[in-house]
């Protein structure tokens, strides 16, 4: 196989230095090299969104990103987001609304939803549906997912207003 390449990747605040094959995608890197199994692979061809992670504040499909491309980048996964509490409100809302069943899509959906609400906290149902249309959930009817994201959007907006002097 092609020679391995040395990469430096910060994942959830930890710096990792690894020799890896250039063909290794970021999803496999996270799961197999780092043991971060919270990122799921549903299709490995960029369609289902299950493998979504955050790279330098942008959501990306880790199956379409080579790990070597993330050299020098800051990667956040569901594990990091959970431990930091950054998306606790979304996680709670998903539980409350039963916006997950098997949970295989859930990490990707949560990170995608968080990205939307950070950019557009006022997103309405139609906009939410549009934004999460790259994330495929086979179990829910999406309805509860939309409800949960909408509710968090409202809360975050109210919180933002409340924080103003």
């Amino acid at each position: 196989m092609t020679d391995r390449i040395l990469v430096n990747i910060t994942v959830n605040g930890m710096v990792y230095e690894r020799w890896i094959e250039p063909r290794l995608h970021l999803g496999d890197f996270l799961r197999e090299e780092l043991g971060l199994k919270g990122t799921h692979l549903g299709c490995e061809h960029g369609v289902c969104g299950a493998c979504t992670v955050v790279v330098d504040d942008e959501i990306v499909r880790s199956c379409l990103t080579l790990a070597v491309q993330a050299d020098g980048a800051m990667v956040e996964t569901i594990e990091g987001k959970s431990e930091s509490g950054a998306i606790r409100d979304l996680q709670d809302a998903f539980l409350e609304r039963n916006a997950l069943q098997c949970g295989f899509c859930t990490a990707g959906l949560l990170l995608t939803a968080d990205a939307l609400l950070q950019a557009e906290p006022e997103a309405d149902r139609a906009r939410i549906r549009e934004h999460i249309s790259g994330n495929y959930c086979r179990c829910t009817g999406y309805h509860a997912v939309v409800d949960a994201i909408e509710a968090v959007g409202e809360c975050r907006r109210a919180g933002a207003r409340g924080a103003q002097p």
Binding site: K37, G38, G42, L95, L100, A107, G141, H143, A144
Partner: protein, 794 residues
């Protein structure tokens, strides 16, 4: 002791409440354990080289070059595996005359569908296995492929399995008599043909199995993404000759199942056989592309339907002919004939009509095997029935809702038989219809439809009534000779800490099974839900049972939990009575404490009882042994199945310029018997509706004439995404089954069963001004445009 608990007498029941799932927290935090997350010492990975041809003889396999590649542990063909794993036959004896040839874990001499595994490449990593696979050379002799089902039985068509003589797997006829007379004398006869494209389940987590045979112990442990762990344990034991007691199947988190993961796949046997051969753990995780050509497909049917009616809209007779293609082998052990069998059992099912005739032909093809997928036969039976009923309404010039009202079985007519011979315990069509009319303002929708039509906007309203088979007894498989449990067991026990553990043979694939079991335990033992722990998905630790299929989890598994919990409570009360020296009638358990009902006070916590039993039996009267573990089993034996029913309405807009269908709204009224947890059941229903919407509008496994699948990737095979799905309103009517004390029926499949019919009818309703009807699913924009502009599209 003696705490005053004023509210103890009125502890609220948790069953029936919208309780969130405690076990879902790990899933939202990315801490689940799916099979691919499990890593074992000395584990190796297998990649299967699969036939690129639908039908081909394997002349030669040359793996010499591949064997030397990095990481390669073994390269194995079908013949070698056949020495470890016996062949299997997917036939059930109660489906009289059904035949299927023996199938092997991997192809021996001949591949019969594109995707059948031919060579197993085992290596240290999956990537290495795939690399080496590229270097394996197979010489093929391509054979003619049987792909079309309508010519599968023609004399000129090659016979896939010459030893069978023809391509017929199963034929069945149902005839109540009097059908020809009814059609001859009817005022009105309508007929139509319905086509259904093949589709597949596309569970988001692909099928996965990690087989771990330990030669030192001669024990097999299989981590499996599966719905029926006990069934798989039995099969592995029998096909590989390992005592069943030495086989353990573990199903932790399962990333979607829908019936796709209730089957025993050749790949499963091959992976286990490889582990036996190599004496080390072997992991197989299907990649998405191979999922499309190895996961079971379903629903390839062509159904001809006729309905005879009186002028005032009374149904006289249904006449149905179903033809379905199932691939080269009937799926083992559930068989591929069950889907068609359901279709002819269920057509016309909600209606009161005296005469029924149906024929079924199940034929072999060189395509992926088909078998049971969510709703099994229901979506087809419902679309055929509701499609022809709508055609009848249009022919009579009658409101489709009114025509249904006139013919639905009356709620007070149960128990009774349906015209196909099915036994129906207690259905609520009339109440569901009434509830639907409260939810949906039909007159307003019709007004809006007329107004918009004048402006060139075409909206349609489609109705679908359905019955759904749930809580199966032994009639499904047991009587046909398949070792698939129709009973399920539950074990509940009290720990020294006062925690109640519950182990069940029914597992969790995200439906919330573990949550409803915890609710049942909490109510029936009398403890808060946070004092209950549920364990499922481990054949070494749970009572033997059938697992999850045919919507039996709550109805069968839940009843076992209820019975076990009640007995545990009785045991605990007896224990408390002996210990406290009080008459047992005076005591009850609530909120985790033993209550003196006479005084209205809590006497002791269950933790005290637990500690007493475990650590201080010296304080108990001589000869008294409290029994803190109870197991109960339940099998539904009153009826072959407990049917449920429901009704759905779809509101759509069809763009006649582009053929695009927009789903505006979907309504569901569902009677799943007692609703155990509305939060869970509602989204379960919505998820099922969305799978049905996928089937009617998007999903189809497309093949070329050589039997090669043309759209085996997620980019090409369309599934519903959030953006095109409507909000789905759900309401319930509750008719608890009297066959159990819990009263629960299934709720998992009705959504998938009804949605295709409702949407098809809505589209045809929208297109009424154009006098066209779409009856081939999926109803794609292309088909709509073709129907609307035949002169343009040719």
């Amino acid at each position: 002791m003696n705490n005053i608990t004023p509210r103890a007498a009125t502890v609220e029941k948790i069953v029936g409440r919208a309780v969130p799932r405690p076990n879902a927290r790990r899933l939202v935090e990315g801490r689940g354990t799916y099979v691919d997350d499990v890593e074992l010492p000395r584990m190796v990975h297998v990649a299967y080289l699969r036939s690129p041809h639908a039908h081909a003889r394997i002349l030669r396999i040359d793996a010499a070059a591949a064997l030397d590649m990095p990481g390669v542990v073994a390269i194995v063909d079908g013949r070698q595996l056949a020495e470890i794993c016996a062949p299997f036959v997917g036939a059930l004896s109660h489906l009289a005359g059904m035949r299927s040839p023996p199938q092997h874990a991997m192809a021996v001499d001949r591949a019969c569908w594109q995707g059948e595994a031919v060579v197993a490449v085992v290596a240290q990593t999956r990537a290495q296995a795939e690399d080496a696979m590229q270097a394996v050379e197979v010489t093929w002799e391509v054979l003619p492929a049987v792909t079309r089902m309508d010519t599968a039985l023609d004399p000129g068509t090659p016979v896939i399995h010459p030893e069978l003589g023809d391509n017929l797997c199963f034929h069945r006829e149902v005839d109540s008599g009097g059908v020809d007379d009814a059609f001859a004398t009817a005022d009105v006869v309508v007929e139509e043909t319905y086509d259904f494209g093949r589709h597949t389940g596309v569970t988001l987590e692909p099928r996965s199995v990690l087989a771990d045979y330990n030669p030192a112990e001669r024990r097999l442990t299989v981590h499996h993404s599966h719905q029926a762990p006990h069934m798989m344990g039995d099969l592995y034991a029998r096909l590989m000759g390992i005592p069943e007691a030495d086989v353990r199947v573990l199903c932790k988190d399962v990333g979607g199942s829908f019936g796709i993961k209730v089957h025993a796949y050749a790949d499963d046997f091959a992976t286990v056989a490889l582990s036996v051969l190599l004496g080390r753990p072997v992991k197989f995780v299907a990649d998405r592309l191979e999922s499309f050509v190895t996961d079971i497909h379903a629903r390839e049917h062509r159904v001809k339907a006729r309905l005879a009616l009186t002028r005032d809209g009374r149904f006289l007779a249904f006449d149905i002919a179903d033809l379905t293609g199932i691939g080269p082998y009937s799926m083992y052990p559930r068989t591929s004939a069950v889907e068609g069998n359901q279709v002819i059992n269920l057509c016309g099912g909600p209606y009161d009509h005296p005469h029924y005739r149906a024929t079924l032909d199940v034929v072999f093809q060189n395509k992926v095997q088909t078998s049971q997928y969510r709703g099994v036969g229901h979506p087809i039976a419902c679309a055929v029935t509701e499609g022809i009923v709508d055609l009848a309404a249009a022919t009579l010039g009658m409101d489709p809702l009114e025509l249904r009202r006139r013919n639905l079985m009356a709620d007070d007519s149960f128990p009774r038989k349906g015209a196909s011979g099915i036994l129906l315990e207690s259905l609520s069509h009339q109440r569901c219809l009434a509830r639907l009319e409260q939810m949906v303002d039909f007159p307003a929708l019709r007004r809006e439809q007329a107004e918009l039509r004048a402006k060139g906007i075409h909206r349609g309203i489609g109705i679908a009534v359905l019955i759904e088979l749930t809580n199966p007894g032994a009639a499904f498989y047991g009587t046909g000779g398949a070792r698939i449990a129709s009973q399920d067991g539950a074990t509940v026990r009290l720990d020294p800490t006062g925690i109640v553990h519950c182990a069940s043979g029914v597992g969790e694939q995200g439906q919330g099974t573990e949550t409803i079991f915890a609710q049942i335990v909490a109510d029936e033992v009398g403890v808060p839900m946070d004092r209950v722990r549920v364990l499922t998905g481990d054949t070494a630790a749970t009572p033997y049972g059938g697992g999850t299929w045919a919507s039996r989890g709550a109805g069968i598994g839940g009843e076992a939990v209820l019975q076990a919990s009640r007995q545990l409570r009785a045991n605990l009360l007896e224990f408390a009575a002996v210990h406290l020296g009080l008459p047992v009638e005076r005591l009850r358990i609530a909120g985790g404490s033993v209550i003196d009902t006479a005084e209205g006070v809590a006497l002791m916590d269950l933790a005290e009882l637990g500690s007493l039993a475990h650590f201080r039996p010296d304080l108990l009267p001589a000869g008294f042994q409290p029994e803190l573990v109870v197991t109960r089993h339940y099998a539904q034996r009153d009826y072959p199945f407990i049917f449920t029913n429901g009704i759905q309405v779809s509101h759509v807009e069809v763009d006649v310029e582009t053929g695009v269908v927009t789903l505006l709204k979907h309504w569901v009224v569902e009677d799943c018997g007692r609703v155990l947890n509305p939060l869970l059941v509602d989204e379960q229903i919505r998820g099922a509706v969305v799978q049905g919407l996928g089937g009617v509008l998007f999903e189809e496994c497309l093949y070329d004439e050589n039997g090669v699948m043309r759209n085996g990737s997620m980019a090409d095979y369309l599934v519903p995404m959030a953006g095109e799905m409507p909000d789905i309103e759900v309401a319930h009517v509750e008719t608890p089954t009297r066959s159990s004390e819990l009263g629960a029926k299934g709720a998992g499949e009705a959504g998938t069963a009804g949605a295709p019919a409702a949407v098809m009818n809505a589209i045809n309703d929208a297109l009424r001004p154009f006098a066209v009807r779409l009856t081939a699913q999926p109803i794609t924009p292309e088909k709509i445009l073709h129907a609307l502009h035949p002169h343009l599209t040719g």
